[in-house]
């Protein structure tokens, strides 16, 4: 039987409900046991600019988006203008019939650069500069086009339910678009209705109305449209399946591992996590009274990290969450946390820089910055998660690293990971261990020294409020008590004590937590972060053709796990660096730390995440020795 694997794209103006439509669609499919991988793209804008959701659905395990659209749904012209070219030759488009005569010039949100490319494209084919012209090209490519009058459907629905106000309920278009799509794709109607119910369950009236609309749309499609070549159908659903986004995984991990303080300043794409934590600020605790996380919105990111450090000094597991521009402001305080050996976690959601860059788009631009943030030499750990499921467990590990080694930890994520919605195995908090390191709960005697020189470089840690545990902190160099000292001998002892924690971390953090090997081969991909899914899917595609490529996912980026990587690369001849930035930042680390040099680079910095198709194509060129040293990927609207 042919594998069922489709990509459904819905687009529309920001604020029109595209995201909730995609959630209903994804959930309905996931409820039948199908796998989901969805990504959201949007402009830095509140209302009106184009946003879209690409949801890939499959009966196989999927970890990425692919090139091409199987079914595109549009109730605005811009969605057609921007995405029609990506619809596969045997794919389909469902769009509002009122859009046909809209001209390119009539869509003000089409930026001039894109518009000129579109006009050139239409002119080269001698087509009218309108939706009609564009759809003619589609017809020539054998794409199925279903024109639907959403206005008439709303009117008919109003009539059927004897509720005239429905005529003007344009937000209902979203549920109609989803139900028509699912009817067309041949999924059964029950999961659709269950999904609508689940998503609107807090508002029973709205849920009921949407279910009626969903039913109507679903029946409309099954009656009106001929069977589509690509269909999806229920498969055996595994129990304990999650449908979850990356920022939620990070937040849940923090809750589970006992993070009780998070400060933040609003920034895309990091704030979603803080809002999620605040929405769930009170929770149950086993055999104890309810617990809570205090989430504080600060006046800027300097204050956010300052508060997190202040909180950490009380023995509270504390974090802040930010993106590149905010992290830039935190650099000075990183050094303070470093010299004072304060365990804090900074969750860094990268986006495209520099400066404001592409503020709502993806990028892995901040690896070098994370490693080097702050002046002077001080130890920190930079740790990267590769997918949504890992993020949950890694969030907890980062706090263990922070407390065990008493240093700041940067948990480096990105916009792609944050906004990916995917099916995965239910998170299991029982798999989380909590290591508080040398945190003291009691001190009997006087004379406590916060920075006592110890064998392993780590001093027993008191906290504000602990009797007999009084200490001093300072951003100056200090003696064992924490008082300012400019003594040259002490300076060397303290610098060496702190630096030794990097070596200790490399000797303590397990090999599997440093880097994961997904098979070693003559050609081997090295990468970090959210490229993991697309790489694994690309490697599977190659495998089907009998081509073998290895993959090592680096998780510990600083200190660099040189020994671990060297031993994994023993039998590798060709090293391929894959990452979403221009400078090949991991590549330069590899070249610095390994004996072998990177042979090929696959890079993307359009602000859009990599598809597995692109990586597959690039790897294939490398295997055929037809590739340039650097391949730059550009797919995606």
């Amino acid at each position: 039987m042919q594998s069922k694997d489709i990509t459904w794209v819905i687009g529309g103006p920001q604020g029109s409900g595209v995201e909730s439509a995609a959630n209903i669609f994804a959930r309905a499919c996931a409820m039948t046991g199908l796998q989901i991988f969805g990504k959201r793209e949007f402009y830095s804008n509140i209302k009106g600019e184009h946003s879209y959701f690409a949801v890939r659905v499959s009966d196989k395990n999927i970890r990425s988006n692919v090139k091409g659209i199987t079914l595109l749904v549009a109730f605005d012209a811009e969605t057609l203008f921007r995405h029609v070219d990506d619809v596969c030759d045997d794919g389909a488009i469902i769009c509002d019939s009122d859009l046909i005569s809209i001209k390119v010039d009539e869509v003000p949100t089409l930026d001039t650069l894109f518009k000129s490319r579109l006009i050139e494209h239409l002119s080269s084919k001698n087509k009218e500069l309108s939706v009609r012209g564009l759809l003619e090209i589609c017809k020539e490519r054998d794409i199925t086009i279903h024109l639907v009058s959403f206005k008439n459907i709303l009117a008919a629905l109003a009539e059927e339910l004897q509720n005239p106000s429905i005529r003007n309920m344009f937000r209902m278009l979203n549920v109609l678009a989803v139900s028509i799509s699912l009817g067309f794709l041949g999924l059964s109607s029950k999961p659709l209705l269950d999904s609508v119910e689940a998503i609107f369950h807090t508002k029973p009236k709205i849920a009921e109305l949407n279910k009626q609309a969903a039913n109507y749309g679903y029946n409309f499609a099954t009656v009106k449209f001929p069977k589509f070549k690509y269909s999806i159908s229920d498969i055996q659903k595994k129990s304990n399946t999650f449908l979850v986004q990356g920022y939620q995984a990070a937040g849940l991990g923090k809750m589970a591992c006992g993070c009780r303080f998070q400060s933040y300043y609003p920034i895309t794409p990091a704030s979603d996590e803080s809002v999620f934590l605040e929405s769930n600020e009170v929770f149950d605790v086993k055999n104890n009274r309810p617990g809570s996380t205090l989430v504080v919105q600060t006046e800027d990111e300097i204050s956010a990290i300052g508060m997190a450090i202040g909180s950490a000094l009380t023995g509270t597991r504390s974090a802040t969450s930010t993106s590149g521009p905010g992290f830039s402001l935190m650099a000075e305080a990183m050094g303070w946390a470093g010299i004072n050996e304060v365990p804090i976690v900074v969750t860094l959601y990268q986006r495209s820089g520099p400066s404001t860059g592409l503020p709502t788009r993806h990028g892995q631009d901040d690896l070098m910055f994370a490693i080097h943030a702050g002046h002077g030499d001080f130890p920190k750990i930079v740790y990267a998660s590769g997918d949504v499921e890992e993020t949950f467990y890694d969030a907890a590990k980062c706090f263990n690293f922070a407390e065990h080694f008493q240093l700041p930890v940067i948990h480096i994520l990105d916009k792609f990971l944050a906004s990916t919605i995917t099916t995965c195995k239910r998170f299991d908090p029982d798999l989380i261990t909590i290591d508080r390191g040398k945190l003291l709960e009691k001190i009997e005697e006087d004379g406590y020294k916060r920075f006592s020189l110890t064998e392993d470089g780590i001093s027993p840690r008191s906290k504000l409020g602990l009797e007999n545990g009084i200490f001093w902190n300072t951003g100056d160099e200090s003696d064992e008590f924490g008082h300012i000292s400019e003594d040259p001998i002490n300076r060397v002892q303290m610098m060496d004590k702190r630096a030794s924690k990097l070596e200790l971390a490399l000797n303590t953090i397990t090999k599997e937590d440093q880097a994961i090997s997904f098979g070693i081969a003559e050609f081997c991909v090295l990468s970090w972060g959210s490229t993991k899914g697309p790489i694994l899917d690309a490697i599977d595609m190659l495998k089907k053709e009998g081509l073998n490529v290895g993959f090592i996912q680096l998780k510990l980026l600083h200190p660099f796990p040189t020994d671990r990587i060297k031993s994994l690369l023993k039998d590798t001849k060709i090293i391929i660096d894959v990452e979403a930035n221009q400078a090949a930042q991991l590549g330069s680390l590899l070249n610095e730390h390994l004996d072998k040099k990177v042979d090929y680079y696959i890079l993307k910095y359009t602000g859009r995440p990599m598809t597995s198709t692109e990586i597959y194509e690039s790897l294939k060129k490398i295997l055929q020795t037809k590739a340039e040293k650097i391949q730059v990927l550009t797919y995606g609207a």
């Binding site: 929770f283 617990g291 909590i434 409020g465």
Partner: protein, 321 residues
């Protein structure tokens, strides 16, 4: 055992210049802590950068010497994580009203229950005497190449406008009054601000101890100097908001602002404004999270035998399909 003043002193060598006003402030802090009998381990001094930043090393309670301008974020984070602590933040005028001015305003909006003392000498001492935000326009202290081209910020007025619920001023050479002001500030329920006039004997040759004492302004009849410093409470001034009606609050705010503008001839000290009817940040949180104060972030248990005890299964259920 009764705490003694000596218990609150460290043996760290104090390297402030001889005659520095900072000595009076650190003494007043130590005296206030002794008098209030605050257990040493339940108190923390947070400080900024500059001469005043060293204060935390001289007091024998937890001492956190932070970054330039950032004392308030650090201090608020600690206080919110463990509301049982008595926290005093100390910093300079450049530290708090220059590089840290944004935090000053934001802290006022939060009204976290702690005390903030600014050591105000109108110069950046530790970097050799540049003009600070409180130096008056046109003044040329001795290490400035030219007279100051900026207007001075009004710390008392800014604190009142930002929402601090206790706003006072002390004088570093009146340690007894300053000690009483610190006690009142610490006991105040909400964010208290103290502007402490603190002559810098090395770099500020204008606002000197003699100048504050009025030695340059001798009464023609008595031939005695007319001190600039005076105490508000000796004039029958009532800073307290008693009932909280809009008109009363407006009256007290306005009165405080007007007093804050007195300078050249007469300089008021004491409490300018106090309003305990505004809920501190901690109470606002406790309204949402009922056991926040007795089960604060710092005191919550999070693990048992290395395993998480946070029960998130209900939330996890909502992600199941």
């Amino acid at each position: 055992m009764e705490p003694k003043l000596a218990d609150y002193k460290t043996d760290v060598h104090n390297d402030w210049c001889p005659g520095c006003g900072d000595f009076g402030i650190v003494n007043a802090i130590q005296m206030a802590l002794t008098e209030m009998k605050i257990p040493r381990h339940m108190s923390a001094i947070f400080s900024g950068i500059g001469c005043s930043g060293k204060t935390s090393h001289f007091v024998n309670v937890f001492g956190v010497h932070t970054l330039h301008g950032r004392v308030l974020p650090f201090a608020q984070g600690a206080k919110l994580a463990n509301p049982n602590l008595t926290i005093i933040a100390a910093g300079g005028d450049g530290d708090g009203l220059g590089i840290g001015a944004g935090h000053f305003v934001a802290a006022g909006r939060r009204n976290v229950d702690m005390t903030y003392i600014i050591f105000n000498n109108a110069v950046y001492g530790l970097t050799k005497g540049q003009a600070s935000p409180t130096l008056r326009l046109g003044q040329k202290t001795k290490s400035l190449p030219n007279p100051n081209v900026n207007e001075a910020v009004n710390p008392i007025g800014l604190a009142i406008a930002s929402g601090f619920t206790f706003v006072g001023r002390g004088y570093a050479y009146d340690v007894r009054q300053l000690k009483d002001l610190i006690i009142a500030a610490v006991k105040h329920k909400g964010l208290a601000f103290l502007d402490v006039l603190q002559p810098c004997p090395t770099y500020n040759d204008i606002n000197t101890r003699d100048w504050f004492a009025g030695l340059d302004n001798v009464d023609e009849i008595t031939q005695k100097p007319k001190p600039r410093i005076y105490k508000l409470e000796e004039t029958g001034y009532d800073p307290i908001v008693h009932y909280g009606s809009e008109s009363e609050v407006n009256e007290k705010l306005t009165q405080g602002l007007i007093k804050s503008n007195e300078w050249d001839i007469k300089i008021p000290t004491g409490i300018f404004y106090q309003n305990e009817l505004v809920a501190p940040y901690e109470e606002r949180i406790a309204d949402r999270v009922p056991n926040y104060l007795e089960n604060s972030p710092a005191t919550q248990p999070i693990s048992s035998d290395g395993k998480s005890i946070t029960e998130i299964s209900k939330i996890l259920d909502s992600f199941e399909v």
